[in-house]
Amino acid sequence: MNANWKEELRDLIPEDLSAEIDTFEAQIEQKKQGQIDDRVFAETRLRRGVYGQRYDNGQRFDGQVTKPLQYPSGDLLKGPDTVWDAPGMQRIKIPYGGLTTDQMEVLADIAEEYSEGILHITTRQDIQIHYVHIEDTPDLMRRLAAVGITTREACGNSIRNVTACPLSGVCHTETFDVTPYSHALAQFLLGHPDCQDFGRKFKIAFSGCAQEACGLTSMHDMGMIARIKDGKRGFETYVGGGLGAVPHQAKLYSEFLPPEELLPTAQAICRVFARLGEKTNRARARIKFLVAKLGIEEFIRLVEEERKILPDDPAWTAYLDDLDNYVEEPLKIAAPLNGVARPKAFDTWAETNIYKQRQEGYVVATICLPLGDITSDQMRNLADIARKYVKDTIRATVEQNIILRWVSESDVVSLYNDLCELELAEPGAGTIVDVTACPGTDTCKLGISSSRGLAAELRTQLAQQNLQLADAIKNFRIKISGCFNSCGQHHVADLGFYGNSRKINGYTVPHFQVVLGGQWTENAASYGLAMGAIPSKNIPAVIERITDNYVENREKDESFQAYIQRIGKKDVKELLQGLTQVPAHEIDASYYTDWGDIREFTIGDMGKGECAGEVVSLVQFELSGCETESFESQIHLEEDDYEAAYKTAFNAMLHAAKALVKTQFLDVPEDADAIVEEFRTRFCDTELFYNQFAGAKFANYLFRVHEEEVAEYTRDIAHQVVEEAQLFIEEAYACYGQMNVV
């Protein structure tokens, strides 16, 4: 029999994380046996970062016709309209983008073995791999867990990756290093019971200062900017920001939130969002709509009320004791770069890719990744390079790059040479060449136009012109999304684009909406203005005209944002005149295909996106988890592990009882005695959990097992409890149905 990762890594994975992954594996098995509803399973896997991908409805457009893909598992689905065998994307959360060399190696390995050997850095410091088969995901997760990475809540209606400025701790303008705070909040909210009943996702970001871009706090559901008040650290806190089709600037929640209030306030905000946020209309379910609807004052009042009644949690302040333990250290001593021969092109690279740290003699080196992609071999070798020059001070950035922090200046030339060997020494980090793009039509079901195709083309064209580009535009940001959902963050770019299409001459033609003058700095302080849709193939010309005009006609030191505001939409339209035209198909067919794709363009292969997740009530979700526990108890029984079977079955009942209690009492304690007592009072004594034929029989299963002291776990005893657990859960579903709260 072949080895398996579960056994191999048993001692390396934290017990709770291991149990979670085992549960997910059991849920996959249950789904294959038809025991979980499609929607519940979809949300279950999304909360594990297991995401759908283009063509997962089993259809593909080949340029002429849409053809079915005949997968072996036939009609089996892993979500509504999502075919079981269709490969998907695995999103991997990297809190604040922080990576270790061991993690980089495992990421390289899993991309090679379960994907196509490419790792993609996202605009939120996650890492994604594509074309992953769902049955490989538990092992993939175990391998990541063994090096301290969880994919939990990477997708779905949950707290997504908590991002932070990648220069935290080494930045010249920061107030203080936000890293340990972002880490603490990410850990606190991960799997938190108060974050399991959202109508949509919730994104959090930290920034060390107000003036730079890095944290992008203004476009987040919750954003924190480091502040010092009366010599004490804290956070200027914002809430209700977001991009998407309807971008909102975050509203000021508090001018100064002390660190001991950071976690409970976030928890209270999550509670208010879970309770009052929209659940039905997915397009208006983000917290920005709730804040807009209530008004920020009322929202703050509700959160403060909620904060007052939160049960005290030692975790709120426990992390404060560890703050001093968070120290990043260099591998090498600081030394200047003196007299070392500089290879050709080094200075060009260093000009854009090296940032001098606040700490004398150290720099941050940016590894500029084309379209955020890096091969497994490159990632593995980059880990070796990192070990040579720095400790585990590596971060993924929202501009889809990787940075090495704490490089001694004396090592910069040597580092550059090593990066050249890997073809990872591309210059232009943070400049107009460093184009950001979401996956778009390459792999996303919602993609309309090819964001990556356009980004690749622009990178190529702009890199060729780089030396001729005027200084005024060299540091422009170009950001591209495949649709209006803004994963490419086009609203905050100088030159932003999002995909759409137009029907022309009977053909569907790929276009991009041009969005100009967004502000990347000051944490994405303002959003750009939409200027009109232009055929995809004319976008390079748009950039040329706009930037040329800016260089020629800007007033002294006028920023691009100010220039766009000054000339206005009318002048921009005039400037772009002619570029909206699409030649007839027989004259130039290239307009009818998209960048990076030879097929005739279509929007017929779009699907229902999974970024909105599935709305499944908290009780339904938790009862489904109990069914999985019940399923696991049956497996333990089959494997003659009677004690495990008994205990797992009891836990299944206990958790089902807890799920019901939560509908009345959100703060039900964790311990079994309290849950049973609350259940007895609220559901048994009131006869809410009461079968019209069997009376309190099923409730008594729980009470008996809870009180029972088992001297010896025999097959008969275990078998009885396993059967009872199944019946108890069925009754819990019936009870929930009768409560009419679905």
Partner: protein, 187 residues
Amino acid sequence: MPTHKISVKFYLDQGHNIAPETWFKTFNNWISAHNGADVLLDVADYSHVPNGPVTLLLGHEYDISIDDTDAKRGLLYNRKQPNGGGFAQQLSAAVRATCETCRRLETEEAVVFRGNELRLILNDRLNAPNTENTHNAIKADLQVLLQQLYNDSEVIAERRKDTGQRFTLDIRAEGDWSVAKLLENLS
């Protein structure tokens, strides 16, 4: 059996300069024309990434890519699903499938593959780690296959020793071998 996850790569002798768009078009046409029992899904372009996959034809049972790993362009066949039989059968099937794919490209595009050199990868670090034990475990099956492929020509199989890598053998046979001849030998 060590693993069914077997990858095989043959290198290009002619046709290095063919543009990624051409490969994209070819693979897309293959999906359109495909009527086999296996499933071909999509084409992905990674030509912006150096020394990796250039253009990928993704399938359910296997992927095929024009691959630039180690700056040596070739065709990589990557088996993902079991193909029936023991390791010897699966190894033989993977090499045959790679040769067939190379041959198909030779007939459709201006390319020629070198048959005398191939890379064998076991894409499974758990069941086929990059160790001498794994090498010993597959040696007999491999020898039979190589003898069939290259008759009695001298063949050198060199294992890449870096521990972080997958089990990888670089195999080189004496003389000139076309993939057509290899296919003939396998039949």
